[in-house]
């Protein structure tokens, strides 16, 4: 259901980005990049409040005619960005939330791996598998 999934580090460089291969992937990369501004804006908007009070799920960041971009940020300022197809109307907010939760869980598992140094690209197969399960089935 997602067309593109990206994990952005705190310093705003991508730790993991993966798109449905049929499309022009560069376009998705660009969309994710531009969405970072929106994420930052949303974070800073509640910057005064305590981190705890901030929702991890940011919701719809911005819609385009073809796609919608959703964001999610963790307490360590790692951002998850998901691009979904606008035509995929059945996707409800709850589903997006659950997808982000799954992403977060998998990301936590990756973090727990002592062989993974934070800041590296995520190369975990388990993480890949989980993302694959969330992305649109190509065939």
């Amino acid at each position: 259901m997602a067309v593109c999934v990206a994990v952005i580090a705190k310093e705003n460089y991508p730790l993991y980005i993966r798109s449905v291969p049929t499309e022009n992937e560069l376009k998705f990369h660009y969309m994710v990049h531009t969405s970072l501004d929106v994420v930052d804006e949303k974070i800073s908007a509640m910057g005064k409040a305590l981190v705890d009070q901030r929702e991890l799920y940011l919701g719809l960041l911005y819609p385009t005619e073809d796609y919608k971009v959703y964001g999610y940020v963790t307490n360590s300022k790692v951002k998850f960005v998901m691009v979904v197809d606008s035509s995929n109307t059945a996707l409800r907010d709850n589903e997006i939330r659950s997808m982000f939760r799954k992403l977060h869980n998998s990301y936590t598992d990756v973090m727990c791996n002592p062989f993974y140094t934070p800041g590296d690209r995520i190369q975990s197969r388990a993480f890949d598998g989980m993302v694959t399960s969330m992305m649109i089935q190509v065939c």
Binding site: D52, N75, N105, D109, V110, C112, N113, P114, F115, R125
Partner: protein, 705 residues
């Protein structure tokens, strides 16, 4: 390379394998995934596998087309028979047995069994039989292979031989054995009329040639062997390419095959004797792993932290990426630390990798740690380090909490509530000490929300039995820490040694959780067995537990003296302490003493020094708590409620947080497991669907059925 000649059996087998590997039905198979698994299951060294892939052209193309796949399979058979790998050997080697795939045996078997069990279903055989990953298939395979047993084995021999074009090369006895064993087919094969396989074969062959992209492969296709051969082959579908070589089959094989192949057969037999699980850990290996574990972590029930494990495994000189993958596979509960089982699994994977085996995508079943480790180790790991946790209820549980952000919101509230009411949801606690700790945690949790996490825990606890002693001792250690937490308030003598007797520990510990909260209100929700909440504060609770152990059975008694108990509680701990000290038949003694104490309602007169000490303290603690306890104690809590509540509240924050962390983790693992199971089911269903589609495709040209 294109002039591959295949016999019928080979054809069928190869196409089956191809369909199996070609789950996307794109007529080409990526070089990774199932094909690699398949080849790995062929028990060939890695370089041979690579050579095969190169020879068949897959590396050139980047994927396996049908012809490449068939060539590769043929080469696998060649390699397994001991012949050198060459392109010419594809066609020149006669009497080549079908390639054997150890791990995938089960799949083949089940698939073939299903396919051959009935005529009409032959082409639809894939339904529901697309095998699970090899690791899981082991169990099935073992059972089915044993079932089929002897009759298959000799027929098995014949099967590879019979379809081969030149019958004169097969031993003269083979035709006889064919006929003989054609009557002993597996399952329902015997019923199959001879005509069945015939039409099946020809359409199948046509379908294959029609659908195959590599038609050149079929160009040299030999004419179908006589019907009899089909029957025997059909009758022995599971055996057909199986790999599970029985010793009898090995003998037969030697008559048919060259000596070289016999050695591989022996190898396979050895493997099959060990249930053909390439991931099974032998005893000596396990011993070695355990020793290595001890060098890092002397406590066999403890954890190896991630950093230590990282250093250790880095010494193996495997690339970090692979080590990372191994870690992912072996850290089952995803807690960043390795228990003994997880460590053995990781070590085994490292060893396998160094020997050339490719890493599986999923942890094989034989390497999976038992569930008990999850909770126990979680508790054990947590307890020693948790002496001084902050008491802020609002703090979400650390580390893993982000993984459940939605739950995080609830944790703080729960913690608060748990603190305020000191009400712990009583959970049915089994007498196994290993679960005691969990139950303590469970009891700490508030509300019904946690019943869910607890129930799976309880289910899991039921499985535990082996680690009672160790766990109990651990529990005592944790109990000690608990006591120490309260040391600030009550000078709990930390010197009280952990009760050495596991049985005792079991008793007291079990009741600990029961004790702690004395939330009788919740007792109704849980079996009467463990009504009392674990009272961590008071180490003397152990004895109390021992007493309460008895009390469980004597709920009535406790019920009778709810009010009297506050005073008696002091006596109970003391007496129970004393009982516990006796180191034997504690339960009996506690049983004796508990009722005695209960009935007496007086403090023990001459308890041993330690119990006295504790008793005094507990009495002090009890005094202020009496009121609270009387409020809370409903039915059984009486004895258990004797736990000092003042120190409890101090430790409650930590406990609550600990409990919530633990609960979180448990829920996490439970849900993760559930998720994986559901995923697996989904995968199975998808495979079924694919197989059905394949069948449909094959059926379409024919007005079959």
């Amino acid at each position: 390379m294109e002039g591959l000649t295949l016999s019928d059996a080979e054809q069928k087998y190869y196409s089956d394998l191809f369909s199996y590997c070609d789950s996307e039905s794109t007529k080409k198979v990526a070089a990774h995934g199932r094909v690699l698994e398949l080849f790995r299951a062929a028990q060939l060294p890695n370089d041979v596998v690579h050579q095969i892939m190169e020879l068949c052209g897959a590396t050139r193309l980047g994927y396996f087309g049908r012809s490449q796949f068939y060539i590769a399979l043929k080469l696998v058979a060649v390699a397994q028979s001991g012949f050198p790998l060459r392109v010419e050997s594809i066609n020149t080697v006669k009497d080549l047995p079908l390639p054997r795939f150890v791990a995938s045996k089960n799949e083949q078997e089940s698939r073939h069994a299903a396919s051959y069990s009935s005529d009409s279903e032959n082409q639809g055989s894939y339904s529901g039989v697309i095998p699970p990953p090899p690791g899981r298939g082991q169990v099935k395979k073992g059972s089915t292979s044993h079932d089929t047993g002897q009759p298959r084995t000799s027929a098995d021999q014949q099967e590879p031989v019979s379809p081969v074009v030149s019958p004169q090369q097969s031993p003269p006895t083979s035709p006889h054995t064919w006929r003989k064993h054609s009557r002993h087919p597996s399952g329902g094969n015997s019923e199959r009329p001879l005509a069945g396989p015939g039409p099946f074969w020809s359409p199948f062959g046509e379908a294959q040639s029609g659908s195959s992209a590599g038609d050149a492969v079929w160009s040299g296709h030999s004419p179908p062997p006589p019907q009899e051969n089909w029957v025997s082959f059909a009758d022995t579908p599971p055996t057909s390419t199986l790999l599970t070589m029985h010793p009898a089959s090995v003998q037969d094989q030697t008559t048919v095959r060259t000596v070289a192949s016999a050695t591989t057969a022996n190898e396979i037999r050895r493997q099959s004797s060990s249930y053909d699980d390439p991931w099974k850990i032998t005893d000596e290996q396990r011993q070695y792993y355990v020793n290595q574990f001890k060098t890092i972590q002397p406590d066999l029930n403890g954890f190896i932290p991630g950093s230590a494990a990282k250093e250790f495994f880095t010494k193996s000189k495997l690339p970090i990426l692979e080590l990372s993958h191994i870690w992912e596979l072996s850290d089952f509960d995803k807690d960043g630390a390795l228990t003994l089982d997880e460590f053995c699994a990781a070590f085994h994977l490292v060893v396998a990798r160094k020997n050339g085996y490719d890493l599986p995508e999923k942890l094989p079943e034989s390497l999976m740690p038992k569930l008990i480790d999850l909770e126990d180790s979680a508790d054990v790991g947590d307890q020693p380090g948790e002496v001084g946790y902050s008491g802020s209820p609002a703090e979400a549980p650390p580390s893993k909490s982000p993984s459940m952000p939605s739950l995080n919101q609830t944790w703080p509230e729960l913690n608060q509530s748990s603190e305020d009411t000191a009400i712990v949801h009583p959970v049915p606690i089994r007498m196994t000490p290993s679960k005691i700790h969990m139950q303590e945690m469970e009891l700490k949790r508030t509300g019904s929300d946690h019943t869910n996490p607890t129930s799976p825990l309880l289910v899991k606890t039921s499985d535990l039995s082996e680690e009672n002693k160790i766990n109990s001792s651990v529990k005592f250690a944790s109990g000690n820490t608990v006591g120490q937490q309260q040391a600030g308030v009550v000078a709990q003598p930390p010197a009280v040694p952990p009760r050495p007797q596991p049985s005792q520990a079991a008793g007291p510990v079990v009741h600990r959780p029961v004790d702690a909260d004395g939330l009788i209100t919740h007792t109704s929700t849980s079996p009467q067995q463990i009504p009392e909440q674990p009272n961590f504060a008071d180490f003397s609770q152990f004895e109390v537990f021992a007493a309460s152990n008895v009390n469980e059975e004597q709920d009535d008694e406790a019920e009778k003296h709810p009010e009297v108990l506050p005073v008696e509680k002091a006596s109970d701990p003391a007496s129970s302490l004393r009982v516990a000290k006796t180191d034997s038949k504690i339960e009996e003694k506690t049983a004796a003493s508990a009722p005695a104490n209960v009935s007496k309602g007086t403090t023990p007169l001459a308890p041993p020094p330690k119990p006295v000490r504790r008793r005094l303290k507990s009495e002090d603690e009890l005094r202020p708590e009496v009121d609270e306890h009387t409020q809370k104690t409903g039915v059984l809590a009486a004895v258990l409620a004797s736990q000092p509540s003042i120190p409890r509240s101090v430790g409650k924050d930590k406990k609550a947080i600990q409990a919530s962390i633990r609960r979180n983790k448990e829920t996490n693992t439970v849900l993760a497991r559930l998720n994986s199971e559901l995923q697996q089911q989904l995968k199975d269903v998808l495979e079924e669907r694919i197989s059905l589609e394949v069948q449909l495709e094959q059926l379409r040209p024919f007005s079959h059925l």
